[in-house]
């Protein structure tokens, strides 16, 4: 078995979560890496949709932006930005929305807008919403991938850019949101899933070699742990090779 980094473990775990035969609305960065790895491993027929309007992109190298020429050149169809949001995302055609985050809270709400309590005088001004609010609302389910830290995993996000489970189970239904919302969070330490009853993110898997304490200490709320906490299978040789090729080609 090769050595691998925790980031590589995270990308492999995220890729594995994407099922063959489904479609995925892909954010740039970690989600795009994972989705492209999935296409090279167990899900060659995974349909990648990028908000730039590339439907069914099959990039041979990792795109650096959501609008790389490579995505357009390999896509089944290239449509306008209004069309990708209105005709393809909004009706709930896409199985999985795959998002990153700056802050994530225990109910899977995502912040990519401002750090700090005052929107008008923020501690840090982040890039903003992009496509995420509607991806989080309209995809059948949402996966979130980000590195674990107390700064990122907070009790309550400073700003809800993209709605997860609000204040708990039932909020999405009350608001009329059609997708199931975040069903999986992939980190460099393990996997979290919303509790079936409360929707609170709960640790269900640890990556190999990670101590439970590490996961608890890098979470800004009192992290609940599943009774049957499992260990993620380590990356396969083939997964690592393909991931490294992909990342190298994208540089």
């Amino acid at each position: 078995m090769s050595e691998y980094t925790s980031d590589e473990m995270m990308s492999v775990a995220a890729a594995r979560a994407l099922r063959a035969g489904t479609s995925c609305f892909v954010g740039i960065g970690l989600p795009s890496t994972a989705a492209n790895l999935a296409r090279r491993t167990h899900a060659p027929d995974l349909t990648l949709i990028y908000e730039s309007g590339c439907l069914g992109a099959k990039p041979t190298r990792l795109p650096l932006s959501i609008g790389d020429g490579e995505l357009a050149d390999t896509a089944d169809a290239v449509v306008s930005v209004p069309e990708v949001f209105n005709y393809w995302l909004q009706p709930g055609r896409i199985d999985v929305g795959f998002l990153g985050a700056a802050q994530l809270d225990k109910f899977g709400n995502i912040n990519t807008t401002v750090i700090g309590a005052d929107y008008h005088d923020p501690k840090v001004r982040l890039p903003g919403a992009g496509g995420a609010p509607e991806i989080a609302a309209s995809c059948k389910e949402v996966f979130v991938v980000l590195r674990q830290s107390k700064r990122a995993f907070v009790e309550k996000v400073d700003f809800i850019t993209s709605f997860g489970h609000g204040t708990g189970r039932g909020d999405r239904e009350r608001l009329g949101l059609r997708g199931a919302g975040p069903t999986l969070v992939v980190t460099d330490l393990g996997l979290m899933r919303p509790d079936p009853d409360t929707a609170e993110l709960t640790l269900t898997e640890l990556h190999p070699g990670v101590e439970l304490e590490q996961a608890v200490e890098t979470t800004g709320w009192t992290l609940k742990v599943a009774a049957d906490l499992k260990t993620t299978p380590a990356p396969l040789e083939r997964e690592l090779t393909l991931l490294r090729e992909l990342k190298k080609a994208g540089e």
Partner: protein, 269 residues
Amino acid sequence: MARVLSLGEAVAELVHDGDTVALEGFTHLIPVAAGHEIIRQRRRNLTLVRMTPDIVYDQLIGAGCASKLIFSWGGNPGVGSLHRFRDAVQHSWPVPLEIEEHSHAGMANRYVAGASGLPFAVLRGYTGTDLPAQTSTIKPITCPFTGEQLTAVPALNPDVTIVHAQRADRVGNVQLWGIPGVQKEAVLAAKRSLVTVEEVVDELEPRPGALILPSWAVTAVAEAPGGSAPSYAAGYYERDNSAYQAWDAVGRDRDEFTKWLNELTGVKA
């Protein structure tokens, strides 16, 4: 019918102090040369509109051209933050920057409404988020048939929209291929429009995936070869990723930025 002008003439004629100006291009075909010309011509108090303000908007903001930004994602894609944008928002440098913040779906639909001659657009958007509390241009609307509550956003109708395309013919018909973004909508939503192009040709040969903006829907066309670098123009040149990375160091520091600005505008330090 569109008039074929030089870039300098076109910006002088179409972009005025205080205007609402949209430069669109989604990763692809960003009208950077036109943005630089606006900086050179020292426009002030612009309301800048763009779904994805990136480095050319960082430059316009740092140069003090803008008093307001309407946007949905402001960053240096693949690199990190826009430091001039952050500095303006957090420290009002060089001038205060008001912001009006939306999501991509909201912005795209605002252009669609603008292009369609409608005062607003309807979408499933923003639900449950903190954006409506900060952005007065997001309101609820009820379906008159089902009673369902949805979201309305007002049309965007810029005073002038600027986009970049691959080609135009000599009477000003524009041909654009590759990722089309929201350019057609942004042009049709605007009172005036400028399309910078890689080249003006005698005849536009049909191409797979190309869209055409007819001459009579465009105000002016200006030849600006390489005019979307460091973004890319499908069929002409690739994205210069190193330029995006290099901008981080320049944008991060007011002095470095000022040097860059002086170089662009030809001011001796």
